[in-house]
Amino acid sequence: MSAQIKPINMPKWGMEMAEGDINSWHVEIGAQVNAGDDLVDVETSKIVNTVTATNSGILRAIVGQPGDTLAVGALLGVLADANTSDADIQAFIASHTAAAAPAESSTPAEKSSTPAEKSSPPAAAQATTAAPAPAKADTKPNAPDAMSKLAAGADDSGVAASPVARRLAAEYGVNLNNISATGRHGRVSKRDLDAAVSAAGGQLIGAHTASSSHAPRYPDDSTVKATPVARRLARDLGINLHQCRVSGDRGRVCKADVEAAAALHNKLQAKPSSTATEVAVEEAFELQAMSGMRKTIAARLQASKQTAPHFRVQIDAELDALLAVRKQLNDANTNAKISVNDFIVKACASALTRVPAINVQFDGEQVKYFRDADISVAVAIDEGLITPIVKQANSKGLIAISNEVRDLATRAKLNRLKPNEFQGGSFCISNLGMFGIKQFDAIINPPQGAILAVGAGEQRPVVKNGQLAVATVVSLTLSSDHRIIDGAVAAQFMSVLKGYLEQPATMLG
């Protein structure tokens, strides 16, 4: 009876996602989840995002443990009803594990069946836990000695480590200074910690089975004829309409049919999940956990500064001609409200076409030279910032770019961008001109190769032909990754960009 067993798989967010790190689970084994509930936070090289349930059921097993790196499609956990036997759950996990190649090179010894011994007080629901608790690994005779060596050392609070690794280290009593880091962004990962503890003969806390993809049990039911109520009910109960008998009018699945199918599969019971509450302590500050977005910004920009040797080139461009064209365009078109920044997007797109060596992504080994200029535009939002992309800006007109940027910025502020609208991009623009900032440097948005920082367009004294004059001037600063972009190329790009901005008609070509 595997029909009612539903896998939770590693999702694929974006074209380039191949694997993800398990951060933390939102639900415990034994808890009832409904379709749409948050299940588990997964971190990719780009974002931390939450996997939500597509079905309802009871979380019977957690396969992907915090700290694990698993391939797209890999089995993360198992949803089923209360009546499904543990043996069936085990068989289900085994069938998926057997078929899958491990996503990481962890040794078989590290693997065992599921559940977490460390999970908080055993609830009644855990009676349904999928597998027996793993046998505890025997501690080697010399373990206390080796483990105490791991514990020694100076304050390790400054060591870069994943949250999971830091928590586990505290439980093991291990000093992070003693662990060699191989995790993402140079952090100590759970794997590093497990390896060190195993090597020292320590006993591992919790272990896991990595496994991989699997196919849905029933085909898509969107074409099955059903009444609106039946379709909604089936979705909510996690019933596929193919599972239902058809007794409604004109061959439609009706509400009673879905209820019958649900009763058959005992889908209707629910169990509230309990959460531990912490005692708040009055402090002189407000303590806030980092949001997923904040963590992503922190990790990516730190990695960028640490790995990409930034160098900067700066140039000033006069905007008076551009401002005149902007006024003409805006006055002549009711559907146009083109900003100076929109011109800069367009000018960058043109300049990137002329100097393609800037229009790149670099993963540390290979350089991708993009045919189109997909320009990320940094947008400040309440939680931090996000960089929606104007795709193929080189083949779009100013009005189209302007209206697209406004739509992207609107939806960015509402957190309504789709992943493919902010993941990727071949170049980035950050503009702080609206705050009156004259000039600033930006950090490259990896894996891109360069970022342009745009200051305020302002009237400044300039010297022309030996005469003092007034012009509207903007200061532009390009930060480039010297591993792949050299100074002369960056300078050439900036000079071309300046040309487009000062003679906007040349962008029409």
Partner: protein
């Protein structure tokens, strides 16, 4: 200059709903209102007239008390108390909107707004102007009563809707010009309260937007009540210089002079598009209303219009629905569809009430449908007889090939509360089959809906 993500101009049922939906979606939202939150609907329209019409119902019930065995002397009526009830209800609801704005974190800006530039509003209050910026500006400025070339509302002898709902004395003889929803409601109200009412309509039938059979029944019921109904009739001139106001009426039987104490002008509405700065920004308008696409977007970047100012049907619930569609489209909510105007119900609160949704028989035929018509008269409905209001009809229009419910048209007691049944059926694309197999409770007026559907196939039980 203060900046918002989205600013709504106008606090009526279009504007305040747009602001709330925007705030729910996370927009930093402001709402500009020059007078009353709640707009015409709450303050000078739908709600206060329904409060007055309740008084008309009471008057009617008292008149037929003898039929049920009651007799009494010294019945008196103070119209000021009825008006006070109506104003209290309006004020209460307007305060409710202020609370909703606060609860949703919406900034309410008092004053009159003008679109000063793309993405920019100028709001003037007591001669002082302030400017605001927003990427998205929604105009929901509503509409107002229209004048005729030769007859204008003056607030004295000629009332518009606003004056007509705040009378200080009951006019003895009343002329209502225009027999659309607003005209017939006032004719019905004042007739029940005791005025002698003449209702004049330029075209060949009253409630011209309704199905012709419904119009005919309404005219018959009105005549029976003592309302003089004159169709195909124009008011050629109005002389209010003397003690009486003299109307020169030109109808199919020639000219006649009518002496009245009061005139109500209800000949349609025009959009509030003036003083909004639309002309200088070349915002497209059509016949006095702002032109929009199916999602409220105008031809000017970042400018949207919803509700009455964006054209017919001029109904509060249409405005509210357009508000949600417009805001959700801006926010990129999945699956937003333009409003299907054939599924907007219309309700008229005269006695008997009129309610309809979808196409009339004539509209359905001219749209090329082969139709099947169901009819059921309320004089065969037990509940209608029991409450002594057995005047009425439920008419259903089905596409004879697909069984789709194209339209439903009702006249009778509380039909405004029943039309929703047909509205839901339409939205779910129900056919006559589902409606036939739905159990309607007995005894109810709405059983007639069922019978009408059955009649479309010649299967009605009680007629």
């Amino acid at each position: 200059m203060q900046q918002f993500d989205l600013i709504v101009v106008g606090g009526g049922p279009g504007g305040y709903v747009a602001a709330i939906r925007a705030a729910q979606l996370g927009f930093k939202t402001a709402l500009v209102e020059k007078q009353h939150l709640g707009g015409v609907c709450l303050n000078w329209g739908c709600i206060p007239t329904k409060a007055l019409l309740r008084g008309a119902d009471v008057a009617h019930t008292l008149k037929e008390a003898a039929h049920f065995g009651f007799a009494f002397d010294n019945l008196s009526f103070d119209i000021n108390k009825l008006v006070a009830h109506s104003r209290n209800v309006a004020n209460k609801l307007s305060q409710g909107i202020a609370y909703l704005m606060k609860k949703n974190g919406i900034a309410v800006i008092d004053g009159s707004a003008r679109v000063a530039a793309k993405g920019e509003l100028e709001v003037t209050l007591n001669g002082k102007a302030s400017r605001y910026k927003a990427d998205h500006i929604i105009l929901a400025t509503g509409a107002r009563a229209r004048n005729l070339p030769n007859i204008a509302i003056d607030g004295k002898r000629v009332w518009g809707a606003r004056e007509a709902m705040t009378p200080t004395a009951l006019p003895e003889r009343l002329l209502v010009i225009g027999a659309g929803a607003i005209g017939v409601e006032f004719a019905s109200l004042y007739s029940d309260l005791g005025s002698s009412v003449t209702l004049v309509e330029a075209v060949e039938r009253i409630t011209p937007a309704e199905d012709a059979e419904i119009s005919a029944l309404a005219a018959k019921a009105f005549s029976k009540r003592g309302i003089t109904v004159l169709t195909n009739t124009l008011v050629d001139a109005l002389d209010s210089s003397g003690e009486d106001t003299i109307a020169l009426l030109k109808g199919p039987d020639g000219e006649q002079r009518l002496s009245v104490d009061q005139v109500i002008l209800a000949v349609g509405i025009s959009g509030n598009i003036e003083q909004l700065g639309l002309e200088s920004l070349a915002v497209a308008t059509e016949r006095g209303f702002i032109k929009t696409d199916g999602f409220g977007k105008t031809n000017l970047v970042g400018l949207y219009a919803i509700g009455d100012v964006a054209g017919p049907p001029w109904l509060a619930h249409k405005a509210s629905h357009e508000a949600v569609i417009c805001v959700e489209k801006i926010a990129g909510v999945d699956g937003v569809k333009p409003l299907n105007k054939d599924r907007v119900p219309g309700c008229t609160y005269c006695r008997p009430q009129i309610a309809s949704v979808g196409l009339t028989e004539a509209q359905a035929k001219s749209a090329g449908h082969e139709v099947r018509i169901g009819r059921f008269n309320l004089n065969a409905n037990g509940k209608s007889l029991a409450i002594n209001e057995a005047e009425g009809l439920v008419k259903t229009v089905f596409d004879s090939q697909t069984g789709e419910l194209l339209g439903a048209h009702m006249i009778g007691p509380e039909v405004t509360e029943q039309i929703q049944g047909f509205g839901i059926a339409q939205q779910l694309e129900a056919t006559e089959h589902e409606l036939m197999h739905t159990v309607f409770a007995h005894p109810t007026v709405s059983e007639s809906m069922h019978e009408s559907v059955l009649d479309s196939l010649g299967l009605a039980i009680h007629q």
